[in-house]
Amino acid sequence: MSKSRTIYDKIWDDHLVNTNDDGTSLIYIDRHLVHEVTSPQAFEGLRMTKRKVRCPEKTLAVVDHNVPTTDRKNGIEDEESRIQVEALEKNCKEFDVEYFNELDIRQGIVHVVGPEQGFTLPGTTIMCGDSHTSTHGAFGALAMGIGTSEVEHILATQTLIQRKAKNFRVNVGGTAPDGVTAKDIILSIIGEIGAGGGTGSVIEYTGKAISDLSMEGRMTVCNMSIEGGARAGLIGPDEKTFSYIKDRPRSPKGDDFDRAVGYWNALNSDKDAYFDRDVYLDAAALPPVVTWGTSPEDVVSINGEVPDPEGIDDEIRKETKKSALEYMDLKPGTKIKDIELDVIFIGSCTNGRIEDLREVAKVVEGHHVNENLNAMIVPGSGLVKEQAINEGLDKIFMAAGFEWREPGCSMCLAMNPDKLLPGQRCASTSNRNFEGRQGFRGRTHLVSPAMAAAAAIAGRFVDVRDFVK
């Protein structure tokens, strides 16, 4: 093939089982991750139609959304949550799918677990009934969230019917200043393109500021692609990618690994590959950011103020933003640094990895959480928790007055007992500030782990760059 291609084009081509005249294609799915919330109806569908799971060995299930983050030895108290968790366990047994239960050290948020196990590999197609599947794109994989009907489709056929998306390149050049993290980069991108900006596209993130990021940072960026409307976001694989993958439980070994690296290297977008859309951001000019509203596109600098929606031309958009301010109980012109907080949540598939916890520890060591608020740290997986303990981070957190919990999704979506109370205001390292997301009438501001940590100490938003000086 001589035509120049993007990494998305290449992965797509290598997974085509067949293409119809009308352009719909059947693509093969290499890896399928499953969790308890979006899978019960899919397994039930298989049972009703007497179908089997085509490739159990390409499927991995883990429980994450419903699990309590306190001691779990006595099971799950909430009955509905328990039934959902038990349903997953039962389905995995019946259909012969590997399953990590809540007592397994490998258990954690599905998007933390996949990479950790080496289940996530470059050049693969990875699907999960969860929109943040885009996370796995950090490895140069085509990773997308799907609905439950499509979960069933993959379970039964190991394929998916799709139409090819557009190629959208987001190039982040320059060097991010100290205190400006992967989270600030991706929030700034979403602020720039809007919550629907990536609709119909697969985003490829390129540029120095992206390749400078660790794998954890790249996962943070790709994770929030969906918040910019893109179903998938990806980053071309490089040495950092390969060394992260090497020697993971399910990664290729020996000759297979070397052969795989050859294939993975060739995946990167060709120099003159065509992109339908290009956006450029200069990382050197970015500040740490905070969201002020109820959409992840509502991004503002820590040194800025709550914007005034009156200036928006579009009536519907103006009204939406006005009601967001009302929901958030904020007035235009309020300085971000004057916003006081009740709760700090550090965790989620966006920022619940070891590097995130290290950043938090760096900021909070020797300080104490402000007496007016509650601060909670929820590691992304049992293995992240173990690593943090090995590094002594848990002691720093607890000495600083943080609650140090068991792994899971927790207050990212508050399906378990970790919830905001009505009216509470939270600085959160998660990915969605939607109304009610972290608890009925709760108010969420999205920030980086370092910014959340600094806010925990100060009791309000502060510029982490002033804070650590």
């Binding site: 089982v17 067949n18 119809n20 009308d22 719909t24 059947l26 093969y28 290499d30 919330v37 979006t38 019960p40 109806q41 039930e44 139609t49 419903n66 039934i83 959902q84 590999l121 050049g123 009934g129 969860d130 929109s131 969230g145 799907i146 609905g147 439950t148 499509e150 069933e152 489709h153 039964a156 056929t157 190991q158 394929t159 019917i161 998306a165 919550a195 629907g196 609709t199 409307g229 179903r231 290729p252 690994f257 052969r259 795989a260 294939y263 959409s295 519907i316 958009r317 009204e319 939406t320 009601s323 979506l413 508050a414 399906m415 969605r432 939607f434 109304e435 009610g436 997301r437 009925f440």
Partner: protein, 201 residues
């Protein structure tokens, strides 16, 4: 899947951008292991007051929109989580068609798996229909999928585009897993090819 049938029904306005799936069906309803019965949770945080009574100001609680089967909404409808509970809840409530300037990709896809029709129109057309909905139950819209046409109660017609394959599945109520399983041998030969080309998988 049920076939999509043409409908003539009241359309309700939801003039808001970025209506997310958390708003459409909040997480407390995701603990179900079934597809049915989610209509009670549709927009629940907007639809009900804290004491569980109906919020009279919410559009679907107004008498003229109670029987709405069509929603006309702002840009980027259905953004956020992949929960198929969102179309399940809309359908269970009785909404069969949503019209907007754009939809989040996953939500859009999920609709078609459930016999629901999301229609993308340009800004002018959506605002025209939004105005039309303001007339409440006096103004119904007719949606004809076969001819890809929306007709207002005054007889104005708006055409819409739709992917041929998706239209075909919707009109015939096709189960796409069954369709794919017809290609079983092609999937098998793809798997054989991969075994030799990318053995590490």
């Amino acid at each position: 899947m049920e076939k999509f049938k043409n409908i003539t029904a009241v359309a309700a306005p939801l003039p808001e951008v970025n209506v997310d799936t958390d708003k459409i069906i909040p997480k407390q309803y995701l603990k179900t292991i079934e597809r049915t019965g989610l209509g009670k949770g549709l927009f629940s945080e907007l639809r009900y007051n804290d004491d569980g009574t109906e919020n009279k100001d919410f559009v679907l609680n107004k008498s003229q929109y109670r029987n709405a089967k069509i929603l006309v909404a702002g840009d980027n409808f259905g953004c956020g989580s992949s929960r198929e509970h969102a179309p399940w809840a809309l359908l269970d409530y009785g909404i069969k068609v949503v019209i907007s300037t754009s939809f989040a990709d996953i939500f859009y896809n999920n609709c078609f798996k459930n016999g629901m029709l999301p229609i993308v129109l340009d800004e002018k057309e959506v605002s025209l229909l939004m105005e039309e909905t303001e007339r409440g139950s006096n103004a119904t819209l007719s949606v004809d999928l076969e001819s890809q046409e929306i007709t207002t109660s005054d007889g104005n017609k708006i055409n819409f585009k739709i992917d041929k394959f998706l239209k075909h599945c919707l009109l015939n109520g096709l189960d796409d897993i069954a369709l794919t399983l017809e290609k079983n041998s092609e999937i098998g030969s793809y798997e054989d090819k991969i075994k030799s080309q990318r053995p590490w998988l």
